[in-house]
């Protein structure tokens, strides 16, 4: 598909400074991947090279300070790196990664060291966790979303959905987008944050599999700190996993939340939770004010696909056209045409078809309104879209209003409804 892009996955972040040598080796990349090196437009943090130009608000951000430290290490200014690290620790005395870097910088003064986490006999799993955290944090700043590209999933938000949350499981990153209503509902990048996911990664299937689900969800509640144990930090926002499609697929488990971090640590490793998406407390507080219970979409992807704004608009058009054709064909009371919008895999399709034929036969006219329409492309292998709207059904003998959710799936090039029901 033209214009469709993924982030490069293989970036060897090589930080060389003698006597301190840091090698942070990243996983190998996809063959067709390309690196996003351009800074995003307004609102996006600039790339790492421009750290000195950061606004005050961002320069106080501990992640930015961490990057500054790595910059100093790279430039072999180890005294300055140590000074910055000590400042960072004073501000965040529970930042374990900063302590590890401090340990390395001090040890480097005592003897040459050749690796990240150079403590002899250090527990390898804990060093690996902190190393993984360092890598994903660095990569997030070195590879910014490219100007003019948006996450594919945010095709259409309803006007009162002010923000959307997109999680990239592979990069341990949460992106906050704003619904730029004044600009035709284009998603506008606001901020991005480091997150932890399930210990065993993403694509949850069953209770207890320690994985984070992949799919289109929304915030269902807000749980304040005082109702929660220390594990959840400054608050929690449950999401509606398993959603209707997950249940149809036989996916189980539950209790998937966005939540904060316990007091004894600033951050948790990239893979640490039982499936929840975990933010540092200050980051959770930052996004919390933008989350609307029952409204804000939380879309969790294995790895975000990015569309150019042109392709994004085309895909949005295509789905809107399919939805509108379905609506008009329903109004036409030509049941055969109407049923062509449904997948052969739609549940109990023959019974559904028989019922519709019978109902439509008794109508002189039907009017269907689809208000507050939202369309979210679902991440994952299947080409799926989650469509939600307030259905205003009026007919010669019956009126009904309901909130409906449909799952559309592209089959042989055509968008078909594979599930619909009350939302």
């Amino acid at each position: 598909m033209p214009g469709r892009k993924t982030f490069i996955l293989g970036l060897g972040v090589c930080l060389i400074g003698l006597p301190l040598i840091y090698w942070l080796v990243a996983p190998t990349g996809e063959a067709n991947a390309r690196q996003f090196s351009q800074p995003l437009t307004t609102g996006a943090p600039p790339p790492i090279t421009n750290l000195a130009d950061l606004p005050e608000s961002l320069s106080a951000n501990p992640e930015t300070q961490l990057l500054r430290i790595f910059n100093e290490i790279e430039a072999n200014r180890l005294d300055e790196a140590l000074r910055l690290t000590e400042t960072l620790i004073r501000q965040h005395p529970n930042y374990r990664l900063a302590y590890l870097i401090k340990g390395d910088l001090l040890l480097a003064r005592a003897r040459p060291i050749d690796s990240f986490g150079a403590l002899k006999n250090a527990p390898a799993d804990k060093v690996a966790d902190l190393r993984a955290e360092a890598i994903v944090r660095l990569k997030a700043y070195r590879e910014r979303p490219e100007n003019g590209f948006v996450p594919r999933y945010l095709l259409q938000m309803r006007a009162d959905q002010r923000f959307a949350v997109i999680v990239d499981a592979q990069r341990s990153r949460l992106y906050l987008y704003e619904n730029d209503v004044a600009n035709g509902g284009q998603p506008r990048f606001v901020a991005d944050y480091y997150v932890s996911q399930g210990k065993l990664g993403a694509d949850k299937y069953a209770q207890g599999d320690k994985k984070t689900p992949i799919g289109v969800y929304h915030v269902t509640a807000k749980l304040p700190r005082k109702e929660l144990s220390n594990l959840y930090g400054s608050g929690a926002f449950p999401i509606n996993y398993p959603n209707e499609w997950d249940r149809l697929q036989g996916r189980g488990g539950g209790g998937i939340w966005l939540h904060g971090t316990p007091a004894d640590t600033f951050a948790r490793p990239p893979r640490a939770s039982d499936g929840c998406v975990v933010l540092s407390n200050q980051d959770l507080d930052a996004i919390a004010k933008n989350l609307q219970v029952g409204l804000t979409p939380v879309i969790i992807s294995p790895s975000i696909e990015w569309l150019s704004l042109g392709d994004w608009a085309r895909e949005r058009e295509e789905l809107n056209a399919a939805i509108d054709a379905w609506r008009r064909d329903w109004e036409s009371r030509d049941t055969e045409r109407y049923l062509k919008h449904y997948s052969p895999r739609f549940k109990d399709l023959p019974a559904f078809a028989a019922h519709k034929k019978q109902v439509n036969a008794g109508k002189e006219w039907i009017k269907i309104g689809t208000e507050n329409l939202s369309v979210f492309r679902s991440p994952g292998k299947d080409e799926m879209a989650v469509v939600t709207f307030d259905q205003d059904y009026r007919s010669s003998n019956l009126n009904n209003r309901m909130k409906k959710r449909q799952y559309w799936r592209r089959e042989n090039g055509q968008w078909k409804i594979i599930y619909e029901g009350n939302a």
Binding site: Y99, K102, G103, L106, R109, A122, V127, L130
Partner: protein
């Protein structure tokens, strides 16, 4: 390693001078050394050499707070001297105040950039601080806390020792720059009877034995059984023909199993040694809830790598 080193116990000559005090310190005869240094300071209360040696005696006799006060005053009166900073750092490091130790050593090196001992000590302090940072980073529960600091205490004011051979210099007023010792840069190395590293080496064995015993006493006070048993050689002979296992069980019960504070003070420590074996004799003042005792103890210690371990222990 200085093989065949002997720390003799010959009766000291009673000359009231600095070399005599230094010799007593070297021999671990701290009580006599203290007597003499107090007498020496009686007539020259501000003399830096005398005050320095007194600080050394405090340090070696487990009176760190008094030593810290003395070395701090010296470093204020003579900010250009590296030795008081170095020794302050050693004392801070013993108290696990590694940030203070680091600051003191960095000052010592700033004033005296070629000061080998301070560099080595600073390397150790950096390693300690690194270890603390790693503990926090990796949640190690202070796995490294038991390791004994091995910073070297300086026993002589080397940077002004060139004047020592003339006569004890009257450094009456610290405020008067004229009477201050010459800046370190002006001391010609050729004047040194012994270069600093060699000097540190001569005292190494006695110092190490001394430190091993103090570490043993501290482990006892802190009820740190791992460090306590770690002070004993694997072929240590427990008293009353007990098995090592039975002895460890009994000690654990009496130390870790005791509620309340334990203090163990070592006084009048005398060390004699020969190569890889040393004999230490001292007064042990033990205090715990409901019990206090004083006894004269004799220990035989053996060298194992760079450590001295207790092989025999008896109460006279």
């Amino acid at each position: 390693m200085v093989a065949g080193m002997v720390f003799s116990l010959t009766t000291p000559a009673l000359a009231d001078n600095l070399p005599e005090i230094q010799r007593l310190i070297k021999q671990g005869q701290y009580a006599q050394a203290m007597e003499k240094v107090d007498a020496y300071l009686g007539s020259r209360p501000t003399d830096p050499q005398g005050r320095f040696l007194k600080g050394v005696i405090y340090s070696e006799t487990n009176r760190p707070n008094e030593a810290i006060v003395l070395f701090t005053q010296l470093s204020e009166d003579y900010p250009e001297l590296p030795e008081p900073y170095n020794n302050l750092a050693v004392l801070y490091a013993q108290q696990r105040q590694y940030d203070k130790a680091r600051a003191a050593l960095e000052t010592a090196i700033r004033t005296h950039p070629s000061y080998t001992v301070a560099y080595e000590n600073l390397g150790d302090v950096y390693a300690k601080l690194a270890s603390q940072a790693y503990d926090k980073a990796l949640q190690l529960d202070n796995a490294n806390a038991a390791t004994q600091s091995k910073l070297a205490l300086i026993h002589d004011l080397i940077s002004i020792s060139g004047k020592r051979s003339v006569k004890p210099v009257a450094l009456a007023s610290a405020a008067d720059p004229q009477t201050k010792p010459a800046p370190p840069a002006e001391v010609k190395p050729a004047d040194e009877p012994a270069p600093p590293p060699a000097k540190a080496k001569t005292n190494l064995a006695a110092d190490d034995v001394n430190r091993a015993i103090l570490a043993w006493a501290r482990a006892w006070e802190r009820k740190n059984m791992k460090a306590y048993f770690g002070a004993y050689a694997s072929n240590f002979r427990p008293p009353k023909n007990m098995s090592r296992k039975a002895w460890e069980a009994e000690r654990t019960q009496r130390i870790a199993g005791k509620s309340g504070k334990i203090t163990v003070q070592i006084r009048d420590l005398q060390i004699t040694g020969n190569g890889d074996t040393a004999t230490a004799q001292f007064r042990q003042h033990y205090k715990a809830s409901g019990l206090s005792s004083s006894a004269t103890k004799t220990m035989t210690l053996v060298r194992s790598g760079n450590q001295w371990l207790i092989k025999e222990e008896s109460v006279n």
